[in-house]
Amino acid sequence: MATATGITIAPTARVSRGLWHDAFRRLMRNRPAIVGMVFIAIFVIGAILAPYIAPYGPTVGSLANNLQGPSPAHLMGTDLQGYDEFSRVLYGARISLTVGVIAVMFGLIGGTTVGAIAGGAGGLVDGFLMRVIDVLLAVPGILLAIGIVAWLGHGEIQIMLAVGISYSPMFARLLRGSLLALRESDYVTAARSMGASPVRILLRHMLPNALTPLIVQATLAAATAIIDVAGLGFLGLGPGDPRVAEWGEMLTDSSRFLQSAPYLILFPGAAIVISAVGFNLLGDGLREALDPRLKR
């Protein structure tokens, strides 16, 4: 638009439409994050559509044609039981993704509850909860998870709980740290000066502002959760049912045939790595999208 002075003022290129909208746009411009999302999408679609796209069921096959190499009939070969490896990798995605994601949810719920109470209450409550968290953090996560599975027994729920509990201290720490910083922020003081109640300040003013590091951390944790779930399966602490296809247990079963049938370990291994890398790329992308100061 030309003005009388001849100075042209370009109309604002785009109107800011709020934090989440802007973050989404930044995420969509982040190529590695898109790659990560594609990786995750492949496994999610594969998991959902497994009954339709898998050429065989997870427990269909005969011992007669076990340990066969990849062929048009069996794209990834067959395992010791003669089950189709490709189908089992697809079905395994169901377990790995759901257990991994739900485990992170458990960790997130437990961790944020503890972190919010500690960061919100402060004082003795904070001190006590943080010492408990310190104790949990002193035990390596996978060891803690092994202990919990050993205690609660085999099963998917047990694995979710085990991984969730071992992840919760991390989330509790993260949220508490953010809340402590936010407690001194101007707008929290301003909200207090307006007479807002502590619960309201915690839930309405502080938590939404502390959310972004949690979202990033949860996405990154989904990557390690998939590895940890597979790790538990590998150690024999998986779902406990040999008929259930689980990437970790598939690795264990295949390790005996590392010499004769290396493809058996290659495909579930690749599935674990690719899905974990997918969540990592997405997590890094989210971190950059949600924190505009972090420009590469």
Binding site: G122, Y187, A190, R192, S193, M194, G195, R204, N209
Partner: protein
């Protein structure tokens, strides 16, 4: 009866470096509808004094260790948190220095304003919304209704400070504490916001404590002014008297270190040499003594009380509350205040600051 009476307020901070003596016995009164200026350099305790009045000191470090804050005859120091919460926003409201950070970035203006209104009044969302629109119009935001959906980052600094003022005045508080409300704004916006603040406070009969380090702001806005230094009120007077007859060496120094439009060409600014004292040391004597050209031996031993200035200096009395008080053993005379340095025998022309580390 005064609306607010602060008596011998003592505030300490416990830090890893030791105790910080932030406010060391501050007393002042504020009548209904009165405007009080609180000036002093950064770290002199002016903000801490007011956070203490609001009982919003950062916990657990900051603590009121003595004194009283009477608001409408009630001692706020003794109230519990829930009782304080009822007062905050409703009876005493606060405007902060930086409008860029004092609005929550993830909540819309609507949510923040309605929240404030509903925190104290039982009204429906619709009524609260109508009130919010009315308030935004009052602070000069044109066509406020669609703007309610916006987030703070979509507003300019001046607009945000207007929103803050609207929120602060939402429940028609009796006392408004404005902590450097215009420091973060550019000069033209400063004038507009100050004018607005002054007009609204007068319209609603709201008493205002205006915290600032800008003497110009004080001159235009306030009736009385307290000058603070290192946690003490060192001089208190009507704003007119303070500028006409500064009676504490620190006030004299402040006035002379500020450029004036009516200064003679070539007339130098006289800086206050040295630095403010380290508040981690318990105050002994007058905190300004190490930087003061008027200092005496006793200044280092004994803190003078804030008392009506000596009768030898003429006081321009404009009312019963106009008492001009200064906390100084050796008050500058009128001529000295004008010159910005002691003119009597035995005093150096300018203070030689003494190292503050003791």
């Amino acid at each position: 009866m005064a609306l607010l009476s602060v008596r011998d307020l003592l505030v300490r901070f416990q830090t890893h470096d030791g105790t910080v003596y932030a406010v060391n016995g501050v007393s002042f009164d504020l009548d209904e509808g009165e405007t009080l200026g609180l000036v002093g350099e950064s770290g002199c305790g002016k903000s801490v004094t007011n956070l203490a009045v609001m009982r919003l000191l950062p916990r657990p470090a900051g603590r009121i260790v003595g004194g009283h804050v009477y608001f409408q005859d009630e001692d706020l120091v003794g109230l519990d948190e829930a009782e304080m919460r009822d007062l905050r926003g409703k009876e005493i409201a606060m405007i902060f220095q930086d409008p860029m950070t004092s609005l929550n970035p993830v909540l819309t203006i609507h949510e923040q304003m309605v929240e404030t209104i509903k925190a104290h009044k039982k009204v429906t969302d619709k009524e609260a919304r109508a009130r919010a629109i009315e308030l935004l119009a009052m602070v000069g935001i044109p066509d406020p209704e669609p703007l309610l959906r916006n987030f703070p980052h979509q507003f300019s600094g001046g607009m945000r400070q207007r929103v803050m003022i609207a929120m602060a005045l939402a429940l028609e508080p009796k006392l408004l504490i404005a902590d450097e409300p215009t420091t973060a704004l550019d000069v033209t916006i400063q004038a507009q916001v100050l004018e607005l603040l002054g007009r609204l406070a007068a319209d609603h009969g709201t008493a205002v404590i205006l915290i600032t380090h800008d003497l110009g702001v004080v001159a235009g806005m306030t009736r009385r002014t307290n000058v603070m230094y290192a946690g003490f009120v060192v001089e208190s007077a009507t704003t007119a008297d303070l500028f006409a007859k500064p009676s504490h060496p620190y006030t004299v120094g402040l006035l002379h270190s500020m450029p004036r439009l009516d200064a003679q060409p070539g007339e130098p600014l006289i800086p206050i040499e040295g630095t403010p004292p380290d508040l981690r040391f318990a105050p002994v004597g007058c905190p300004f003594a190490p930087r003061c050209a008027w200092r005496l031996e006793r200044c280092f031993a004994e803190m003078p009380q804030l008392e009506p200035i000596s009768p030898t200096i003429e006081v321009q009395k404009t009312g019963p509350k106009a008492t001009h008080r200064s906390a100084c053993w050796n008050q500058p005379t009128a001529d000295e205040a004008l010159a910005g340095r002691p003119l009597r025998e035995g005093f150096a022309a300018a203070a030689v600051p003494i190292g503050v580390a003791r």
